[in-house]
């Protein structure tokens, strides 16, 4: 079995490369957008962020995204399932962020992508209200 795995791994050694995720985000400070986010689209608790992720429709989707995000150092594992809550009916991923740390949303978007899904938008609860980030914008 080891030989089989080693051989197949060698055949696919070139297949590890995957498209790099766009390494920038745009911070939206538009008060209209922020108000829309806060009032109509999502509810974001302090110390948390809600990410809209397309394609999350099943338990395995939930498992993949949770696995990728829960390993990040600024995710607070004391909340939800290892710091992550996935709502498949709404394509919503809520993450709890440790109080004394800043989350890297470029990294978060990249990890969701490597989990197999498409991050669309993140709503982050900050001192100034709700901030919206979009990958690759």
């Amino acid at each position: 079995m080891k030989n089989f795995l080693a051989t197949t791994a060698a055949l696919f050694i070139g297949a590890f490369a995957h498209p790099a995720y766009a390494d920038h985000t745009e911070h939206s400070h538009d008060p209209v957008i922020n108000a829309l986010a806060a009032d109509n689209e999502v509810q974001v608790e302090p110390g948390e962020a809600v990410i809209i992720v397309h394609g999350i429709v099943c338990s395995f989707c939930s498992q993949g995204v949770t696995k990728k995000l829960s390993k990040l150092p600024y995710i607070d594992p004391s909340k939800y399932t290892k710091g992550v809550k996935v709502e498949i009916s709404d394509q919503k991923v809520t993450i709890a962020i440790k109080p004394d740390m800043d989350a890297d949303f470029d990294e978060i978007f990249s990890e969701i992508k490597s989990g197999g899904y498409e991050p669309v938008k993140a709503y982050i609860h900050t001192q100034d209200g709700i901030t919206i980030l979009e990958p690759g914008a």
Binding site: L5, S59, T66, G115, Y117
Partner: protein, 290 residues
């Protein structure tokens, strides 16, 4: 990859994920990079009904054939578009065969042929819907014994090709898969013959709990197969022919563990010569993904 090897060696008995009839891996998981999983699945089919073409005929010699296969299946996901899979069965088969006008009991058991597949998928995620087109080349390697009067394998190396489409929303799932197994000649001039087939799965997801990531999934499966006539009557698939099986499938899951059970009833069978019906098919399996 090292992690995969460690887990593989440690969990051979616990092993994972599921599968379409001819592919080792559940279509849905694992989709994430560096994901892997295993499944143990038991398959049973057989019958004492004797067929000539699509007609049931008298069976005065009580000819019968029953086959048990316990599959160990595994998958490694490089990224969502590239995976590698394996599956290998342990087969236990019994039959009563007409030899010289008398019913003669024969049986055999052992490890069957190893199947290695490389599912390549193109995914698109759109809102609450995800779908993919897949192409899976596979190789069936002759690890099963081809000796004896009722051999486990014909001893050949065979090529499988599969094209599939599947789409899924939080409530519904569908899959269409068409495939061919192109068989070469094996030991003792045995050749099981090519197989062509189509699988259709329609699923409904009635219950899911976000907090525990657990729930229930039900599916209806339609399986159609066309088998060329084998070159040797001692093979398990003695006559070849056409058949359609259909039935329900139930999946219970919690986090990374999945339990699956399936029943399929033969709604159409047409054998190329006098042969036992394949009968009803039962599948039960448990899988885990990491």
């Amino acid at each position: 990859m090292k992690k995969t090897l460690l887990i593989l060696s440690g969990l051979m008995l616990l092993s994972v994920t599921t599968a379409q009839a001819h592919q080792p891996v559940m279509d849905m998981a694992p989709r994430w990079e560096d994901g892997y999983g295993f499944q143990i699945r038991h398959e049973f089919y057989g019958s004492d009904t004797l067929m000539d073409g699509d007609s049931e005929i008298a069976n005065p010699l009580n000819l019968e054939r029953f086959v048990h296969k316990t599959w160990l299946e595994g998958v490694y996901t490089f990224d969502r578009s590239k995976r590698i899979t394996f599956k290998i069965p342990y087969i236990n088969q019994d039959r009563t065969k007409n030899i010289g006008g008398a019913g003669v009991k024969q049986s055999n058991e052992g490890i069957g042929d190893l199947i290695v597949g490389v599912p390549l998928k193109h995914y698109q995620n759109k809102g609450a819907f995800t779908h993919n087109f897949g192409f899976t080349p596979s190789l069936r390697l002759p690890t099963g014994s081809s000796s004896g009067a009722f051999p486990i394998s014909d001893g050949s190396t065979d090529l499988g090709l599969s094209f599939s489409y599947s789409g899924e929303s939080p409530k519904f799932y569908s899959l269409v898969d068409v495939f061919a197994w192109l068989n070469t000649e094996g030991d003792r001039n045995m050749r099981a013959g090519n197989t062509y087939g189509m699988d259709l799965n329609l699923g409904y997801h009635p219950y899911h709990d976000d907090d525990t990531n657990s729930g229930l999934f039900i599916m209806w499966d339609v399986t159609a197969r066309y088998n060329d006539k084998p070159s040797a009557a001692n093979l398990t698939t003695a006559s070849g022919g056409k058949r359609i099986h259909t039935g329900p499938l139930l999946v219970l899951y919690k986090d990374n563990i999945m339990f699956r059970t399936e029943y399929k009833h033969p709604v159409y069978e047409n054998t190329r010569s006098i042969s036992n019906s394949r009968g009803s098919e039962f599948n039960i399996g448990i899988g885990i993904t990491f």
